[in-house]
């Protein structure tokens, strides 16, 4: 690079890289659909190409939105999300066979989710504006979490948990959206109050205890988690919320003691729950005694689902059976809770490890955006949203692989389910906006919009001298 830029780095929007990666991502998703269809005559029907082009159009619309509204956004996040979403669509379609409608439904929700995200980015422009919604978010979260228990709205018990609401023919999982609103609330609250929490309060031994009233939100979060566990009977969601809160308070305060206290609280709650609730007890037994024939055959609460998922993955081995050639449909919920096992069977260790790497990449870019964010609200929200996705992956994949007890969290972007898709696309939208401000030039004036030359059709003049449009100095680039 030119010597004139020793203490300043030119920020490139890198939208072209995103476009190239996006095409690759679409090839992955649509290619997976084609592969799985080859072995299932009938599923590669006329509407297939129409549907594939819908996915491509949605992705490109998102890309163009970024070019206009958030041109410095991280170029890896969108392609990774599209690739995972496309793979999920392919597998859900493949599991549908000729009769199921889950794949069409998933595509519909993908389009809705991408559209919502585009609108969000278009309207919001800057994530910092969400700080004004701190307490509104809290209220919305509370409403969302209570909804599944409201008579008339509740979809009742589904698989032992009460997490869904039903409006007309649609079922919806409000907790998926609540994880976002809670992240906004915590980010807003902690970015304002972190000094108070840090400085006020007494010190007992090595532990700096905050004042009780500063502890309030934390206890509230813990209460919410326990409430979900008790009232809605879902360990995974409960754990997800608690993790969200813990990581945000840790990042806000930098105190490991919070994490220690939090882990102890989780352990206590989990142990008590395992004693008190049969469904939790069953889940624990299905985990550590999965191959016991009695537990395997128990209905409900047996381990046959997880064990058959393991058998499928083992059958897939390193290289997998090939898309459309395995028998993942033998496992209940093969297209949602167990979709990771379905991929493990048909794509093998290589494919599954690749997908887990995609997740890690997506989450890492989220952390990177948080690291680069110049405002503590953005940092906290970025970390919270990224970490919650990581926890979700860990809980689901860990559950399916019998690393931890299986609970009913959704696999981001892959699992069949509209609310999960919508929520995760909104998370992607927020991370993109955070990364846009993180990577973009420090500029307090209104942003310039429109296509710029480095992102346009014309290539840069030469390989190593990038056009300099903006001389603002930034400290962090990725």
């Amino acid at each position: 690079m030119s010597t004139a830029l020793t203490d300043s780095v030119v920020v490139k929007p890198r939208r072209n890289i995103e476009l190239v990666l996006l095409v690759l991502a679409l090839l992955v998703g649509i290619g997976a659909s084609v592969l799985s269809s080859v072995n299932n005559p009938g599923s590669l029907n006329g509407s297939f190409w129409f549907q594939s082009s819908l996915l491509a159009v949605a992705s490109l619309a998102m890309h163009i939105t970024l070019r206009i509204r958030a041109q410095y956004a991280d170029p890896f996040i969108l392609p990774v999300a599209v690739a995972l979403n496309g793979l999920g669509l392919a597998m859900i379609h493949r599991l549908d066979g000729s009769k199921g409608t889950a794949g069409d439904n998933q595509l519909r929700w993908t389009l809705i989710a991408v559209a919502c995200t585009i609108v969000l980015i278009w309207v919001l422009r800057d994530h910092r504006r969400l700080r004004g919604f701190t307490y509104i978010s809290l209220a919305v979260s509370a409403v969302l979490l209570v909804l599944p228990m409201v008579p008339g709205l509740t979809a009742g018990d589904i698989n032992g948990a009460q997490l869904w609401i039903q409006i007309g023919p649609f079922t919806f999982q409000p907790a998926e959206i609540a994880k976002i609103t809670l992240a906004i609330f915590f980010a807003g609250y902690l970015s304002v109050n972190r000094d108070l929490i840090l400085l006020a309060g007494r010190k007992i031994g090595p532990l700096q205890l905050p004042r009780f009233r500063d502890m309030g939100p934390m206890l509230a979060a813990w209460a919410v988690s326990i409430g979900i566990l008790v009232l809605q009977r879902d360990m995974g969601t409960s754990f997800m919320f608690f993790s969200l809160f813990m990581v945000m308070i840790y990042v806000a305060t930098g105190r490991v003691s919070w994490v220690v206290i939090g882990l102890i609280l989780i352990a206590v709650a989990g142990t008590v729950a395992a004693q008190l609730f049969t469904h939790v007890k069953f889940r624990m037994e299905s985990w550590y005694d999965a191959f016991d024939p009695v537990i395997y055959n128990r209905d409900p609460g047996g381990s046959s689902q997880i064990v058959n998922g393991l058998f499928g993955m083992a059958d897939g081995g390193i290289f997998g059976t090939g898309l459309g050639q395995g028998q993942p449909y033998l496992v209940p919920y093969a297209n949602s809770d167990m979709i990771i096992a379905s991929f493990g069977e048909e794509l093998g260790l290589i494919g599954l490890a690749g997908m887990i790497l995609l997740y890690l990449l997506l989450i890492t870019r989220g952390f990177r955006a948080a690291l680069g964010a110049r405002d503590s609200f953005g940092k906290l929200m970025g970390v919270g949203l990224s970490f919650v996705m990581a926890v979700q992956c860990f809980v689901v994949i860990g559950g399916v692989t019998r690393l931890i007890p299986l609970t009913g969290l959704t696999t981001p972007f892959l699992a069949a389910g509209g609310s999960s898709l919508l929520a995760n696309w909104i998370v992607v939208g927020l991370l993109l906006m955070i990364s846009n401000t993180a990577r973009g030039p420090v500029d307090t004036s209104p942003l310039h919009h429109g296509d710029d030359d480095s992102a346009g059709a014309s290539a840069p003049p030469s390989g190593d001298t990038a056009p300099i449009r903006d001389t603002h100095v930034t400290q962090e680039v990725s």
Binding site: V307, G312, I356, T364, K379, F387, C393, G398, T401
Partner: protein, 486 residues
């Protein structure tokens, strides 16, 4: 704050490292254990959905693989299912109901896993093709099979075996009640389970042990067993073709209040002394009970064994079978009853067909043969089964003598209904009392007597005498005519 973010990211990486470890363990290190876990049915269900060979009768498929659904790419179909159900059995494609009949006994050939098909498997492996099973060509004649099936009225429990005595080839083998194997072979698990449950509740169908039908149903033979007595008597040297047998109306036993009556249906009451010809033609009981008491239990038991009762039918049947038995340790009344095929004597319809075949074939019993050819999908013959002698049941002279007397049974005895104009038919009928007023009605015979081409054996279970008579000899006649093209 940034340090905390980095730490949180490190924690995330640790979590993901755990996931990579777990996935690697399942898919690589622990995969073998999981694949061989007894709870694991993946390999089984995958093989279940592969194409299987076709079972054919006279060039027509009687069990074939047809397109299934997404979950299971091929399933079994049975054209004329009920007619051949006793032979094919069924193959439950989704594995939920197991398999029976030839689908079970020829499974390795039908899937291509048998030893003879080893080289084919290697070739298919290199060509990247799905393993293909052999086609099984049976000896059955669809025309005779369908005719025989139609001869047993619905609602009657009956069995018919039509066999070539010289080769042992089975031309037809039917039993009723039958069922449609398609109902159990369906891919719809609950429908399959319901169909199977219904069949399990049907009298005369025993799916679990695969021993219903002509090869497995154990019945008391009644008077057809007298053929064994006759052979034993002639071989003993104590009797010859001119022997005069005492023929009392009933036989008493010292010290026991039991009397064995003579058969009431024929002309037995007209003579107190009988020739073999008369005793066989009218199926008189007391002469044969007398022979058995005279020769002793061992002689009769040995002869029953020589004719295959209580024995294996050889390796060319490819079906499960019942063995039957001639009881041992008998007292005198029991021996007398056993000699006329009552008491604890149990045989299968196939065994009686084999017994008669041995007489028709000069005393040599051929292996009952149900599979003619095993053919690869490319029509290459894998195995061609040749007729093989199973055992020598009696001498040619004794066989010829019994043959002659059996002609008399048709010409001027109880089996007159089986007579075919222009053809010499030899036969023996039997009626075994079941103790509830109902009987097993038997017919076994062959034609033409001087050059036997076909043995017909009919067993009707649990009918009154008149129905039994109506369903045996006249039906045998139709089968003789059909096979001999008369």
């Amino acid at each position: 704050m940034n340090q905390a973010i980095r730490n949180a990211w490190i924690a995330t990486v640790v979590l993901f490292a755990l996931l990579f470890g777990a996935v690697s363990y399942i898919q690589v290190i622990g995969a073998r254990d999981l694949n061989t876990n007894p709870l694991n049915t993946l390999a089984l269900t995958r093989s279940l959905c592969n194409d299987r060979g076709t079972i054919l009768a006279g060039g027509q498929p009687i069990a074939e693989s047809v397109a299934g659904n997404e979950a299971c790419k091929s399933k079994r179909s049975y054209p004329d299912g009920a007619v051949y159900a006793g032979i094919t059995g069924y193959y439950s494609t989704n594995g939920s109901q197991g398999s029976t009949g030839m689908e079970r006994s020829m499974n390795s050939e039908l899937t291509g896993a048998s030893d003879q098909q080893f080289l084919d498997r290697v070739r298919q492996l290199f060509l990247g093709k799905q393993p293909q099973g052999a086609n099984v060509e049976t000896t059955l004649d669809p025309k005779i099979q369908k005719l025989a099936y139609g001869l047993i009225p619905d609602g009657v429990q009956g069995y018919i075996v039509v066999q070539n005595p010289k080769t042992g080839a089975i031309l037809a083998m039917v039993s009723k009640p039958s069922y449609d194997p398609n109902t159990v072979a369906t891919l719809d698990r609950s429908a399959a389970a319901a169909a199977k449950a219904q069949l399990d509740g049907t009298q005369g169908i025993n799916l679990y042990q695969n021993v219903s039908g002509p090869t497995g149903a154990l019945l008391s033979p009644g008077s057809v067993f007298k053929l064994v007595d006759t052979a034993a008597a002639l071989e003993s040297g104590k009797y010859n073709k001119d022997s005069v047998l005492p023929n009392p109306a009933q036989m008493s036993f010292p010290g026991i209040d039991y009397k064995l009556p003579n058969y009431a249906g024929g002309q037995c009451y007209t003579q107190t002394q009988a020739s073999f010809a008369f005793a066989l033609a009218n199926s008189c009981n007391t002469p044969f009970a007398g022979i058995a008491l005279d020769l002793g239990e061992n002689k009769i038991a040995d002869k029953a064994k020589a004719f295959g009762i209580g024995q294996d039918p050889g390796d060319q049947l490819h079906l499960d079978y019942g063995k039957g038995k001639f009881p041992t340790g008998l007292n005198q009344p029991q021996l007398a009853q056993s000699a006329i095929g009552q008491f604890d004597v149990l045989v299968t319809p196939l065994q009686i067909s084999m017994l008669t075949s041995a007489i028709a074939n000069g005393g040599v019993q051929m292996k009952p043969e149900l599979v003619k050819t095993l053919r690869a999908p490319d029509l290459r013959v894998i195995t061609e089964y040749q007729p093989e002698a199973l055992r020598t049941a009696t001498t040619p002279a004794v066989a010829q003598q019994i043959n002659d007397w059996m002609v008399g049974v048709v010409d001027n005895g109880l089996a007159a209904g089986a007579a075919v104009p222009g053809v010499k038919v030899a036969a023996k009928t039997g009626t075994a009392e079941l103790g509830n007023g109902l009987n097993n009605s038997w017919f076994t015979g062959f034609a033409p007597a001087d050059n036997p081409q076909v043995v017909v054996t009919i067993a009707i279970h649990g009918v009154d005498v008149a129905t039994g008579a109506q369903l045996t000899s006249p039906n045998a006649k139709k089968l003789f005519e059909a096979v001999l093209n008369k």
